[in-house]
Assembly symmetry: C2
């Protein structure tokens, strides 16, 4: 059996927003899997805000995607040929498969996923990296205590929506910041105490009104002016969890930093960055906790699924920066 | 006995640098001290970078100095009349006396100081708030571990010079950042491994050269571009201790924030603000530790003493933002 694989590769490093010249579509014949390897038919590809950063040739937490390399992506799929007894044909797996419709990988680099617990898309969302990011960011980095006041930006996204629901499950007051009335309405529907539409006016003033006593934990997915709005509304001893800065990922120059950072001093507060990969050995704990909340109905896992196969990747990637998604953005591969 | 007291009061809130119209000199007759009170002849007034912030009518960790109020200052002096058995005439005290040559205060609001341990000026410096700021900032906020690499800005100042020497005493590698060759030479004289003169070129590049493995603890007294230079040179797990931002205290508009703050994410690092007053119940621990190092010769306490009495205050205050001091800046009152 030979299988033809189609991939999206990085043709050229983008300046600002990636465009059509950033990518090239390539095709290759895959051999049969070797010992310990599996052939995976990719079903779902995770579209992540962090992807833009992987395209820059700068020192970061992972090496950049090289010119001519398949675009890095986490994905799920079905094993269609196997030389690994632990990943039999027909089983479902998750791994760093890249933007490709078929891949051969070492079975040991994949995680088995159980569709009886949740859909493949949810294994990329609430039970995947975004869920783990929410869980360890909120509890370990943010040291959340029951009953505190939590504000999360990018609240209707894959990470933010889990952050807010995890905090609600701990009896916290939770305010979400998101873009547009539909997202805000959804946040209130899933239990957020209030939602702020950052497109409608002054977030700083809105926070002051909604959180007069100040924020205990601010979980930041967006950076920019919203981070400054949160800094202006901290409570003493506040923790800012720095998860992302989607507002600036496509900026051509380094955007302005948080002007109000000295609020950290006034409020004896901290701002701490983290990367979810550092918690890999504790992912089973995070998955178990979130799966239990999904099972009990206390946590809604939502995905926005876009079609179009791997050819749809360039547009889907732009979509995440336009905020087209509610919950996790996933690209399906037919 | 009546005593005439002369004070410097806030006449007008400054915009940018304070000037002569900011202040007024007033005189008043003091009555005899009442029960529990003492009359203090002020000898030394502490000139602190934080003073500029106290002049702004904005929400902060302490209320602003009111128009017409005596300028807030920590000072030391000699008790010249006492209705408190615990602070007899002739004893030395420290307290929030303000910029005045004589004050009547409740004895309970003062600390006794022992000139046999160190001079009054040192009780305002290495054994005063700056020393406590260095000690609790470095060990509690910065969680310094033996042998780590420490970078401190404002290194030749009252706080910075103690930070560096405390870290050296714990076997750390210490780089100081200061303004001018004399200060840098002094830092190397008191044991810093290297000093960077920020007036001579690119601090980011200099740090990269001196600290190729990255910074574990960056103790920031200055903010601005030097904070960005440190952010660009962190080691994984680094802690930034946010103590001050002297570079911006006189800015008329909120200055730019740290553009490279997302380095906190890449390096899994934190930036934490603190105020030394929160450690008041542990000051005896800090004083004992620093006094022991002074006694053994492991720590040099240095002060820059300027004269001129309380009339010299406006100029002395400008001086701290010009960096005229090496070590603690103290104004003497004849």
């Amino acid at each position: 059996m030979t299988v033809t694989s189609r991939q999206i590769r990085l043709a050229k490093r983008p300046v600002g927003l990636p465009d059509i010249s950033t990518w090239e579509l390539t095709t290759e014949e895959l051999p049969a899997p070797g010992p310990g390897q599996i052939l995976v038919a990719v079903d779902h590809i995770s579209i992540d805000p962090a992807m833009r950063g992987w395209l820059n040739d700068t020192r970061s937490y992972v090496p950049p995607v090289g010119i001519g390399e398949v675009m890095r992506a986490i994905a799920t799929g079905t094993v269609i040929a196997s030389e690994s007894p632990e990943r039999p044909v027909g089983s479902h797996v998750r791994g760093m498969f890249g933007v490709a419709d078929h891949v051969i990988v070492d079975a040991a680099t994949t995680d088995p996923i159980d569709p009886a617990i949740a859909s493949e898309a949810t294994w990329l969302g609430a039970l995947g990296m975004p869920g783990m990011t929410a869980y360890f960011g909120l509890f370990d980095v943010g040291r959340l205590r029951d009953g505190e006041t939590v504000v999360v930006s990018g609240a209707a996204g894959a990470v933010g929506s889990v952050v807010g629901q995890l905090a609600k499950a701990r009896g916290c007051r939770v305010i979400g910041i998101a873009g547009g009335p539909d997202k805000c309405a959804w946040l209130e529907e899933i239990g957020f105490d209030a939602a702020i539409d950052y497109r409608q006016g002054d977030v700083t003033a809105k926070l002051r009104e909604l959180v007069p006593g100040g924020i205990d934990v601010y979980f930041d997915n967006v950076g920019g002016e919203i981070l400054d709005a949160a800094l202006a509304n901290l409570r003493r001893g506040a923790r800012i969890v720095l998860c992302g800065a989607i507002s600036s990922y496509n900026a051509e120059d380094l955007p302005p930093g948080p002007q109000r950072y000295m609020a950290l001093l006034v409020f004896r507060a901290s701002m701490t960055g983290f990367l979810v990969f550092d918690y890999a050995d504790r992912f089973p704990e995070g998955v178990a906790a979130i799966a239990a909340l999904i099972d009990s109905g206390a946590l809604v896992a939502r995905e926005t699924v876009v079609g179009g196969g791997i050819e749809g990747f360039p547009e889907a990637l732009l979509g995440i920066y336009q905020g087209i998604n509610t919950g996790k953005l996933v690209l399906t591969v037919p």
